[in-house]
C-alpha cells in the first residue's frame, strides 16, 4: 500500500507529512478545541474548522477515497432533507389551523397560509425551503415567535456540552476497565467487570437519571428513619459555563453521568475484545520478554492498536447520544436541542421540528464521515484500502 503512494511522484516532504499525519491531525484538533474554549467563537465556526481539518487530513492520507466519500455524502444529505420535509408536509390537518387553533377565522387561515407559502405546489415549497436552508435560514417558528436557526444554535451549546462530557466520562470508565478486563480475560475480575457493565447497558438512561437524582441529590430512600443516599448534587437547572464554572460542572455532572454509563458499557466491551486480540500478537510477547512492566505494555503498546474500533464507534454513538440527551434534558430541565424539538412537538410547531431534525441529522452524518476520516488519518495500515465503520 505504501508503495503505491510513493510511486505516484510523491516528494520527500509530502511523505514526511503523511507519516506524521496522525500526530499532525491530533495537534490541529487539540489546537482548535483550545481556540474554541478560550475564544468562544460561534459554534458553526468551530464545527467548520473541525470538519476542514478532518477533510484535509483524509485528503492527504488518501485523496481519492476522501473525495469519493464526500461526493457520496451529498445525496444522503439531500435525501434526508427531502424525507424530513416530506414528513412534515404530509402532516394530517392544516398547519395553519394547528398554529392558530380551532377558533381561527377563514381570513386568518388564508393569511397564515400565504405567509407559510402553503398554497404553492409541493416541489416549489421544498425548493424554497432548501434554498433557505443552504443560506442558513430555517424559517421562523410561529408558535415560539423566533428564528428557528437562532433558537437551535442557542440550544446547541448545552446539548454539545452534555454530549462532550458524557463521552469523556464514558471513556474514562471504559478505557481502564476495558484494558483490565481484556488482560484478565476469563478470570473472576473479567466476569465481574463484564456483568456490572452489562447491568449499566441494560439500564435505560432515564431510569439511571431518576436513580441518580434519588440517591445523589434528594437523599435516597428512608428506611426506618435513616437515609440511604446523599444530598450532594443539584438535580436540575442549567448554569452556563460563562456564568460560573464550578456551578456549571456541578449541575452537569448528573445529566452527563446518566448519559455516559450506557456508553461506557458499549465502549468497554469493544475495547476488551480488541485488547484480547491484540494481546495475542507476537509483539506483546516480545515486549514481555524484554522485561517491560505489565502496566507499560498494556497502556503504551497494546492500547493504541486496540483502540481503532473504539474510535469509530465513539463517532457512531453520537446519534444515540442525541436521543439520550433529549431525555436527559427533559429530566434535568436543560434548554438544549432535544428540549427545543420536544417543545416543538408538543406545540405542534412543524417549522421548529423540521429545522431541529434536519440540523441534528446533518450533524450526525458529518460526524460519522469525520470519524471515518479520523480513522484513516490515525491508522496508517488502512490507507489505500476501503475503510470505515461501514466497510
Amino acid at each position: 500500500m505504501y508503495e503505491r503512494h510513493s510511486k505516484g511522484g510523491t516528494t520527500g516532504m509530502k511523505q514526511a507529512v503523511r507519516d506524521q499525519l496522525g500526530r499532525i491531525i491530533a495537534a490541529a484538533l487539540l489546537a482548535t478545541i483550545a481556540w474554541a474554549w478560550f475564544w468562544r467563537p460561534p459554534f458553526s465556526w468551530t464545527f467548520g474548522v473541525l470538519v476542514a481539518i478532518g477533510t484535509i487530513g483524509a485528503g492527504i492520507a488518501d485523496g481519492r477515497y476522501a473525495l469519493r466519500r464526500i461526493v457520496g455524502v451529498i445525496p444522503v444529505l439531500v435525501g434526508v432533507s427531502f424525507v424530513v420535509f416530506a414528513l412534515m408536509a404530509s402532516l394530517p390537518g392544516d398547519p395553519a389551523i394547528n398554529i392558530l387553533g380551532p377558533a381561527a377565522t377563514a381570513d386568518q387561515i388564508a393569511i397564515v397560509r400565504t405567509e407559510l407559502g402553503l398554497d404553492e405546489p409541493f416541489f416549489n415549497r421544498y425548493g424554497n425551503w432548501l434554498g433557505g436552508v443552504l443560506t442558513g435560514d430555517l424559517g421562523t417558528s410561529i408558535v415560539l415567535r423566533e428564528d428557528v436557526a437562532d433558537g437551535i444554535s442557542r440550544s446547541m451549546t448545552p446539548t454539545l456540552q452534555i454530549m462532550a462530557y458524557s463521552v469523556v466520562i464514558a471513556l474514562g470508565f471504559a478505557i481502564p476497565l476495558g484494558i483490565w478486563a481484556g488482560y484478565r480475560q476469563g478470570t473472576k475480575t473479567d466476569g465481574t467487570i463484564n456483568n456490572v457493565m452489562l447491568g449499566f447497558l441494560a439500564t435505560p438512561n432515564f431510569v439511571l437519571a431518576v436513580m441518580l437524582v434519588l440517591f445523589l441529590s434528594i437523599g435516597g430512600l428512608s428506611v426506618a428513619g435513616n437515609e440511604i443516599g446523599f444530598r450532594v448534587l443539584p438535580a436540575a437547572r442549567y448554569v452556563p459555563l460563562g456564568e460560573d464554572v464550578v456551578l456549571h460542572f456541578k449541575h452537569m455532572l448528573l445529566p452527563s453521568l446518566a448519559l455516559a454509563m450506557g456508553q461506557a458499557a458499549v465502549f468497554m466491551r469493544l475495547l476488551r475484545s480488541d485488547m484480547i486480540a491484540t494481546l495475542r500478537l507476537p509483539f506483546i510477547d516480545l515486549a514481555r520478554s524484554k522485561g517491560l512492566p505489565t502496566r507499560r505494555i498494556l497502556w503504551r503498546h497494546a492500547l493504541r492498536p486496540s483502540s481503532f474500533t473504539l474510535l469509530t464507534v465513539v463517532g457512531l454513538t453520537v446519534g444515540l447520544l442525541i436521543g439520550g440527551a433529549l431525555i436527559v434534558e427533559f429530566i434535568f430541565t436543560i434548554p438544549g436541542v432535544g428540549a427545543y424539538i420536544f417543545l416543538g412537538v408538543t406545540q405542534r410547531d412543524f417549522i421548529a421540528v423540521q429545522g431541529g431534525v434536519l440540523v441534528i441529522s446533518t450533524l450526525y452524518i458529518v460526524v460519522l464521515t469525520m470519524s471515518d476520516f479520523l480513522y484513516l488519518a490515525l491508522d496508517p495500515r488502512l490507507r489505500g484500502r476501503e475503510v470505515g465503520a461501514r466497510a
Partner: protein
C-alpha cells in the same frame, strides 16, 4: 467441552416467561384493578395488601406494573417479529446476491441509520392525535423502521459467510434454485444468530418505548405504561420513591434478562464469536 447455559440463564428465562404470562392473563389473575383508587392509601409504601405500594392517587402500583407490561411486551414483540421478517429477508437477499443488489440495499440501509431514533420518533409523533389505537400503530411502525437496518446487517454478514461454504456450492451445482438455496440451505444456519440477536433488539425496543412513554408520548393514560409511571412518580420522589422505583426495577430486570438470554444464546450457537 460441554456447552452449558448456566443457572442464571434459566432464571432469566423463567422471569421472562412469568412476566409474559402475568401480562397476558392479567385480566383473569386475582390482582387489583389498575385504575381503582384505594382511599387513604395515597403514597403508601409496599405492604401485604399492596405489594409494590400505592401511587400518588392511591392506585395499586403492582397491578399497574403488570398491566404496563402488556404495552411494553406487545409493542416490542410485534415490532421485533415484523422487523425480523423484513430485515432478515433483506439481509439474506443482500448477502446472497452480492454485487449490485447488495450495494444498493446496503446503501439504503445505511442511509436509514442516519436519523437518530428518538428524534425520528418525535418527528413522527406529530402525526399522532391522542387516539390510542393509532398511536400503537405508529409506535410499532417506527420501531420496525428503526430495527430493520441493524437486523439486516447482522443477517447479511452471516449469510455472506455461509454462502461461500461448500455445501451451498454443492446445492447450486446440483441445480437448486436461488429460493431453495436461501431457505433450505442458508436460513437454517443463519437462524440461530438472528434469533438471539432479536432478543437484544427486543430489549432495545422496550427501552425506546419506555423513553417515549416517559416523555408522555406513548399510549395515552389511563392505560398504564412503565415509562409514564416512572415519570409521574418523580414528583413524589422525595417522599414516596417506590412509585418510580418499582416500575424502574421491573423494567431494568426485564431488559437485563433479555440482554443476558440473547448474549448467552449467541455464545451457545456461535462459540467462536463469543471470544470476541
Amino acid at each position: 467441552m460441554r456447552k452449558r447455559l448456566g443457572f442464571i440463564f434459566w432464571l432469566a428465562v423463567a422471569y421472562l416467561v412469568v412476566l409474559a404470562l402475568a401480562a397476558v392473563f392479567a385480566d383473569v389473575l386475582p390482582i387489583k384493578d389498575p385504575a381503582e383508587t384505594f382511599p387513604g392509601t395515597s403514597k403508601q409504601g409496599p405492604s401485604l395488601t399492596h405489594w409494590f405500594g400505592n401511587d400518588g392517587v392511591g392506585r395499586d402500583v403492582f397491578s399497574r406494573v403488570i398491566y404496563g407490561a402488556q404495552v411494553s411486551l406487545v409493542i416490542s414483540t410485534v415490532g421485533t417479529v415484523l422487523a425480523l421478517v423484513i430485515g432478515g429477508l433483506l439481509g439474506m437477499v443482500s448477502g446472497y446476491f452480492s454485487s449490485r443488489v447488495d450495494r444498493w440495499l446496503t446503501a439504503t440501509l445505511n442511509a436509514s441509520l442516519v436519523i437518530p431514533p428518538l428524534i425520528l420518533f418525535l418527528a413522527l409523533v406529530l402525526f399522532l392525535d391522542g387516539e390510542a389505537k393509532r398511536r400503537i400503530f405508529i409506535l410499532v411502525f417506527t420501531f420496525v423502521l428503526l430495527s430493520i437496518a441493524p437486523i439486516a446487517r447482522v443477517v447479511r454478514a452471516a449469510t455472506l459467510s455461509w454462502a461461500g461454504q461448500d455445501f451451498v456450492l454443492a446445492a447450486r451445482t446440483l441445480g437448486a434454485r436461488d429460493g431453495r438455496v436461501l431457505f433450505r440451505e442458508i436460513l437454517p444456519n443463519v437462524a440461530p444468530s438472528f434469533v438471539s440477536y432479536s432478543l437484544i433488539i427486543m430489549a432495545g425496543l422496550i427501552v425506546v418505548e419506555g423513553s417515549v412513554a416517559f416523555l408522555g408520548l406513548s399510549v395515552p393514560p389511563p392505560t398504564p405504561t412503565w415509562g409514564d409511571m416512572i415519570n409521574k412518580g418523580r414528583t413524589n420522589l422525595d417522599v414516596a420513591a417506590h412509585i418510580s422505583l418499582m416500575p424502574a426495577i421491573v423494567m431494568f430486570v426485564t431488559v437485563l434478562a433479555l440482554n443476558f438470554v440473547g448474549d448467552k444464546l449467541q455464545q451457545y450457537f456461535e462459540p467462536r464469536e463469543s471470544v470476541l
